[in-house]
């Protein structure tokens, strides 16, 4: 374990964070929010100083290997959440734990909130809230790898640790270029959505903040009523489209830029993902029309589509209180929470790709029951999946469900009902945001005890970093010399 190199790296990460924290200063200045402006300046200065200190302590540093990589990624996310919490705390609106919850919920693109009266908060702070989601969506480590070309061989491992999915594709021979391409794609898509939302009649502030939380599949909104606040089907459609885009593998968009648009249509994971959205929306629409008290088919369909896309992509925006929907629809949405988006997207959850590999692997075991000498490979889109990946997928399922089960167990301890606890656990672990019952889309997370909020922060980190990295840190042999 090369502690000094790790510290130096984390110090540089904090410098980037300090830079990010100075963006809201401009927003505060524009809206004349003096107090918030000072808060952000102070936060940025403190983050920057801590960064410089760590770099100083770290000295010249050295090579990064796997262990350092794991520590950097996990510690990086913890530090970002901690320093990102400072503005919430300084604003005086929330306590320390609540501030950390809100910050972690932002960076991990969960979108669960403890704010009870969102619209009374300073606009600069709400801008930061959405901005953290945008940073966390494509990933702070990936951003870091994209910004710094000289990270060396360790960078590839860092990248793989943060990019979600069973395998992280690299589009360029150099991981720095891959990360840069991904961030560029992300940036262009963001620009496109901002322009479309402006055209749909939103002001720049609303357009930007909602773009941040759409493309990152975060789900924070500076409006109390979320996307429903605009009362515009056009805005809803734009948001649906970009949620779906954000929930798919970003390397496919890179392929489009390279005039290989067919890759998108042919990608097996993307096809299944779109098929799931279509099927679930259809089923929910039918359920809403027959049992949900909806009168108009277009309204029922748009609400169904929006909620399904929002949950499957783990965004967590709401245009309807799906908690009041019939049981079938609610159950379907919970099912989608577990699945999540595609590998290489900004979405959370188990990922469609893992589901496919997991199911195929289970079917393979069935077949091996009666013909044990057959050699069966698992194919996705005509390509054989390496067995190491299949194994890691199986392991991931176990760890994911254990995390969810233990989380639920701990949340019910305070006497909270099962539906609330179980859905809150998956809503945070899957980086979705809203759950059912007391954590439904019209509710918030303020009522939980501090210990439970901290547990949910842990679940959010576990979900965002896909369990393995954090699990590695708590195994004894990791630290053994």
């Amino acid at each position: 374990m090369n502690l000094l190199a790790t510290l130096r790296f984390l110090g540089r990460l904090l410098l980037v964070l300090a830079l990010a924290e100075s963006f809201p200063v401009a927003v505060c200045w524009f809206y004349g929010e003096q107090e918030a402006l000072v808060d952000f300046l102070a936060t940025a200065a403190a983050t920057g100083l801590c960064g410089l200190l760590l770099i100083r302590v770290g000295g010249a540093g050295g090579e990064l290997y796997r262990r350092e990589g794991i520590v950097i990624v996990v510690a990086g996310w913890i530090l970002a959440s901690l320093f990102g919490a400072v503005p919430y705390f300084l604003s005086g609106e929330v306590g320390l734990v609540d501030a950390l919850f809100e910050s972690a919920s932002g960076f991990t693109t969960t979108g669960a909130s403890i704010l009870t009266d969102i619209e009374s908060a300073p606009r600069g702070l709400l801008f930061w809230r959405s901005f953290t989601q945008w940073l966390g969506g494509m990933g702070i480590i990936v951003l870091f790898v994209a910004l710094l070309p000289e990270l060396g061989p360790g960078a590839r491992f860092l990248y793989k640790l943060e990019v979600p999915g069973p395998t992280a594709e690299t589009l360029h021979p150099r991981v720095h270029d891959t990360a840069a391409v991904l961030w560029k794609t992300y940036l262009y898509l963001s620009l496109a959505q901002v322009l479309l939302l402006l055209a749909a009649g939103l002001d720049l502030y609303d357009a930007m903040t909602h773009t941040f939380s759409t493309l990152s599949t975060g789900g924070f909104s500076p409006r109390g009523a979320s996307i429903a606040a605009f009362g515009s089907p056009l805005v809803e459609v734009i948001v649906v489209v970009f949620m779906v885009i954000a929930g798919a593998n970003f390397s496919l968009y890179f392929a489009i830029l390279r005039h290989r648009g067919r890759n998108l249509v042919r990608d097996p994971e993307f096809r299944l993902y779109v098929a799931m959205i279509a099927a679930a929306s259809g089923l929910v629409t039918w359920n809403l029309m027959t049992r949900g008290g909806y009168e108009l088919l277009p309204r029922a369909f748009l609400d169904a589509l929006f909620q399904v896309a929002s949950i499957l992509t783990t965004t967590g925006f709401a245009t309807a209180d799906y908690d009041r929907w019939p049981s079938l629809s609610r159950l379907l949405l919970v099912g989608l929470m577990f699945i999540g988006g595609c590998a290489g997207s900004t979405a959370g959850g188990l990922k469609v790709m893992r589901l496919v590999i997991g199911l195929k692997s289970a079917l393979r075991e069935v077949r091996l029951m009666y013909s044990p000498s057959t050699v069966l490979r698992i194919f996705v889109g005509g390509k054989a999946v390496p067995d190491a990946v299949v194994k890691s997928v199986a392991g991931f399922f176990i760890l994911y469900f254990v995390s969810w089960a233990l989380g639920t167990l701990f949340l019910t301890m305070g006497g909270i009902d099962l539906e609330t606890s179980a859905s809150a656990a998956i809503a945070t672990l899957g980086n979705i945001g809203p759950g059912l019952a007391r954590v439904g889309p019209a509710q918030n997370f303020a009522f939980w005890s501090d210990a439970q909020k901290l547990l949910m922060v842990l679940l959010m980190w576990l979900g965002r970093l896909e369990v393995y990295a954090i699990a590695a840190l708590v195994t004894a042999s990791f630290w053994r010399r």
Binding site: S371, S373, T374, V375, L376, R377, F379, A384
Partner: protein, 451 residues
């Protein structure tokens, strides 16, 4: 017969077999061999032995390659063969034959090898064995195959019996599948380009051109051979097994490959999603029984080990597989195999030496069409902007009867052109040309052969 001087590099199975036959015919044969222990064996067949690495100039000089008509680099080492061929040619050998292992080098990349290494005949033992095995199990009568347009198009010479539709109906009444064309019939020594009214006779040979994906289907229709039902079991997933498995894809109901090595089996399973790969020992009767190999239509023993092939074939025969084909490396023992009741024994080595002898007998023509001494040839041309054929439909061009545009390759697409099809700049055309029309080709399609 005129006495010639030949140099063979490599006294392995192929080289040795070749050297012996040539020497028996009364030619002077020099064998270059790295292993000094083989000297006596070489000298026994009345050939001169030069001990050393054939890819070294002094060794080639000692073998006097400057005085040979044909230098045959047929050792089991591809790189050495290629290097030796280039050097030998530079030192004055008139023609070179090079043996490579992988079939794809011949089917797809032949032209590059020919160009870069000055190879006159490139052959792959794997490919020869595969063609022969396919004949056996698919009931094809393929005499020779030529791969064109980077393997996308094939030209096949097939033997016609009375059961073929081509011998029963006039050509215009034969329903040819899309993507294939009959370009010529051979009758005795004569070659003619058939018109719609023509009909082949039993014993004729036909030349068909077609897309690689569909030509086997065409051949099945032409030879009226029933589609082979059931499974084909391939024992041994080495290079030959893999090539055969690839060629069988889509030709039979099911292909099952038995491979001993776990890692190799996984590779094959990844390569062939539609085939079934079993990991196990094909000489283990309980495996063959458990996997119900007896129900297979054909069993191919294609491991690199003669003894294992023998063992597996005997077991398969015992289990009642109707057709058993075994690969044999040691050419001297193949007659013993036949004694054991193996109906079909394929020896890649003797196939290779047969191919070389065919090449020599044809007067050094590697092209399968011009086996009949320059009567016709196949020419591949890329359409240059200046070409008069560019932008013209086939009907407008109305080429003479002895000039057939057999296939057009446009990007990744291959098609057999009809009258209304227009040729475009950049297309690669495959032309079948009778000797007297070669000047017309130069006129219509100026330029060089694409590589």
């Amino acid at each position: 017969m005129e006495k010639k001087r030949y140099v063979v590099m490599g006294a392995g199975e192929v080289g040795f077999h070749l050297a012996r036959t040539l020497s028996r015919e009364g030619h002077d044969v020099v064998v270059i061999e790295a292993d000094g222990d083989k000297r006596e064996r070489i000298e026994e067949i009345d050939a001169a032995a030069v001990i050393g690495n054939g890819a070294h100039v002094p060794v080639l000089e000692a073998a006097r390659v400057d005085r040979t008509d044909l230098f045959m680099a047929v050792s089991s080492n591809d790189e050495a063969n290629l290097a030796a061929a280039v050097l030998a040619k530079r030192l004055g050998a008139r023609r070179t034959v090079v043996r490579v292992a992988v079939a794809e080098d011949v089917t797809t990349h032949r032209r590059i090898y020919e160009e870069v290494f000055g190879v006159d005949l490139l052959l792959s033992t794997q490919l020869l064995a595969t063609t022969r095995i396919l004949n056996h199990i698919l009931g094809h009568n393929t005499l020779a195959v030529e791969y064109l347009a980077r393997g996308k198009v094939q030209l096949r010479k097939i033997h016609l019996e009375a059961d073929s539709v081509l011998t029963q109906r006039r050509l215009r009444d034969v329903e040819m599948p899309e993507g294939s064309l009959v370009v010529a019939f051979f009758r005795g020594e004569a070659l003619f380009v058939p018109a719609g009214d023509d009909q082949a006779e039993p014993g004729d040979e036909a030349l068909i051109v077609g897309k690689t994906e569909t030509i086997s289907r065409t051949q099945r229709i032409l030879s009226r051979s029933p589609r082979t039902p059931g499974a084909v079991v391939i024992c041994g997933g080495g290079a030959t097994g893999e090539t055969v498995a690839l060629a069988l894809a889509g030709q039979v109901d099911r292909v099952r490959i038995i491979e001993t090595d776990r890692r190799r089996a996984e590779e094959l399973a990844a390569r062939f999603p539609d085939h079934e790969v079993l990991c196990g020992d094909a000489t283990d009767p309980s495996l063959l029984k458990a996997e119900r190999v007896a129900e297979a239509r054909a069993f191919l023993a294609l491991t690199g080990n003669d003894e294992r092939n023998l063992m597996a074939s005997l077991l398969a025969q015992e289990l009642g597989v109707p057709r058993v084909i075994a690969l044999v490396d040691r050419t001297e023992t193949s007659h013993l195999w036949r004694k054991l009741g193996m109906m079909q024994v394929v020896s890649p080595r003797s196939l290779a030496s047969e191919r070389v002898r065919e090449y020599i007998e044809s007067g050094y023509s590697a092209n399968i069409v011009s086996l009949k001494r320059g009567a016709a040839q196949v020419i591949e041309r890329r359409l240059a902007p200046a070409s008069p054929a560019a932008g013209v439909t086939l009907a407008e061009m109305s080429p003479p009867r002895g000039l057939i545009v057999g296939a057009v390759v446009r990007g990744e697409k291959v098609f057999i052109p009809r009258g209304k099809d227009r040729l475009e700049v950049g297309d690669t055309v495959i032309l079948f040309v009778q000797e007297e029309h070669v000047p017309t080709v130069q006129l219509l399609f100026p330029g060089r052969e694409p590589s």
